[in-house]
Amino acid sequence: MVRQNTLPATPSESDSTVALAQAIGTLLSAHGIACTGAELQSLTRTWLRLAPPLSP
């Protein structure tokens, strides 16, 4: 199994989230991997959710 990244998108994305999405899209392109806009949004949310907590 088992993950289905199907949580709804947040209503508005911050500038930093948009920048992260752009960076992820660029990285995928560099790997030769195509993805849809919805997949890119989902990927960005997954990246943010799994990011380690910032040290104080």
Partner: protein, 443 residues
């Protein structure tokens, strides 16, 4: 009770009839094979021809099994929930060869989420599997066909794979036992990988005794028969999920009741505060390793991956390598800390399986207008961290809710605790049978 083929519904009872001469191996297998022609539950992907009859003296002669379509079989590569054969890194699966050597017969291969990527049996390549208990209820994944076939009585047991809950979740949705041995206890050769550091071959059966018999063959070392119904256990029970909160009240009550009835002394109230960190590490490993497995498909589009598979695989292409390295590095330390905290003074740790109950298909099917993401997340909220820890674990039905849908408990033990878990499951079944035979006395 009998199966749709009109045979006894346990391996021991079937073997008793064969050993007594009341039933031949050939008649038993012909009846099971014929019963597969009525796949009203949409759980089969391929019916196997019956091979030469095994010698009746073999321990599993006459026992028909069917397996998730992720294992290489003699003459057939797995399809992994796709419409074409897939390279599984070999042409045979040693575990299935062990079963065959013991006399078992593989009757069929079974449906699954595409490439084992799904907490349900949703798969755009295959018909939606139907839950034999309640057709409106979902069938969990990814070993969806394994759970359905066992629950429907089409086979005596089924192999599945469990990377983040894929044996335990479907078992819980269909009211059967789902057993995931510890990491590395059973070999995975011949099995298409999802995330090799987490992948575990597991078993789905209708009883703990059937699981014990099959696991003994798979492991190559039979476990002692369970004949101690008065054994009691040091139990811990974790009811509250650190993120999702408490289970539905009737489910919490069912878990408390079974723990209280089987415990030696008070049940320890466990709080798994470490679960979010363990789940995060498990998820990183799942994404990164599955991306490596499917790297060529992501680049070339061949084979084409469904949206559900891509949702699992794509993140691993972009997650930073240090996150994955850290998850790997932390594994032994976090496991040791978990064992010390939760399984030092307890033999078995219990948790809910489906804490909010078994949802309808329409609540968890991502293409349904009624789709509720949180209902889908609830299917695997309690399972993934166990694969990161590599612990033996099982999902066991303990009752039914007011809708008649199964309530299951998840039980885990220390590494090497497979026999202990199966003995516990057998005793829980014994308790349930005794309670069913003795209805409560009204005042």
């Amino acid at each position: 009770m009998t199966t749709p083929a009109g045979l006894p519904d346990s391996i021991a009872a079937l073997r008793e009839r064969i050993d007594s001469g009341a039933l031949s191996v050939e008649d038993a297998l012909q009846a099971q094979h014929a019963a597969l022609h009525d796949d009203r539950w949409h759980c089969l992907t391929h019916r196997c021809d019956l091979p030469a009859m095994p010698a009746a003296a073999l321990p599993l002669a006459g026992v028909g099994l069917a397996h998730k379509d992720i294992f290489a079989l003699p003459g057939r590569l797995p399809h992994c929930g796709t419409l074409a054969p897939v390279d599984a890194g070999g042409t045979t699966t040693p575990l299935i060869e062990r079963l065959h050597a013991a006399g078992a017969t593989t009757l069929a291969t079974l449906s699954m989420a595409e490439f084992a990527c799904g907490a349900t049996g949703e798969n755009p390549n295959l018909p939606r599997p139907i839950n034999p208990i309640d057709a409106r209820a979902t069938v969990g994944g990814s070993s969806s066909g394994s759970a359905v076939a066992v629950a429907a009585g089409l086979c005596y047991g089924a192999l599945g794979t469990d990377t983040a809950g894929s044996v335990r979740i479907p078992a819980a949705t269909c009211g059967v036992l789902g057993f995931k041995p510890g990491q590395g206890v059973l070999p995975v050769q011949g099995t298409h990988p999802l995330a090799p550091s987490l992948d575990t071959v597991g078993l789905l059966t209708r009883s703990a005794e059937d699981a014990r018999v099959l696991f003994g063959i798979l492991r190559g070392a039979p476990a002692a028969p369970v004949d101690t119904p008065d054994t009691s256990w040091r139990l811990a029970l974790a009811l509250k999920h650190p993120r999702a909160g408490l289970p539905r009240p009737d489910i919490a009550d069912a878990l408390r009741d079974v723990a209280g009835a089987l415990a030696r002394g008070p049940v320890v109230d466990a709080w798994l505060s470490d679960m979010p960190a363990l789940t995060r590490a498990a998820e990183i490993m799942l994404h990164v390793e599955s991306a490596a497995v499917h790297a060529r498909a992501l680049r070339t589009g061949t084979p084409a991956l469904s949206a559900l598979t891509r949702a699992v695989v794509l993140p691993g292409s972009v997650l930073p390598a240090p996150w994955y390295a850290q998850a790997l590095e932390d594994r032994a330390r976090l496991r040791a800390a978990f064992l010390e905290r939760h399984l030092h003074d307890s033999d078995i740790l219990l948790t809910p399986m489906l804490a909010q109950g078994l949802p309808d298909w329409d609540d968890v099917d991502t293409t349904s207008p009624r789709f509720q993401p949180r209902a889908l997340l609830g299917l695997f909220a309690w399972t993934g961290f166990v694969n990161y820890l590599g612990l033996p674990c099982l999902s066991l039905p303990i009752g039914h809710d007011a809708q008649g849908r199964p309530i299951s408990v998840q039980a885990m033990a220390r590494p090497g605790g497979e026999d202990l878990l199966l003995a516990f499951a057998a005793q829980a079944e014994h308790l349930r049978a005794a309670q069913a035979a003795s209805p409560p006395v009204s005042a």
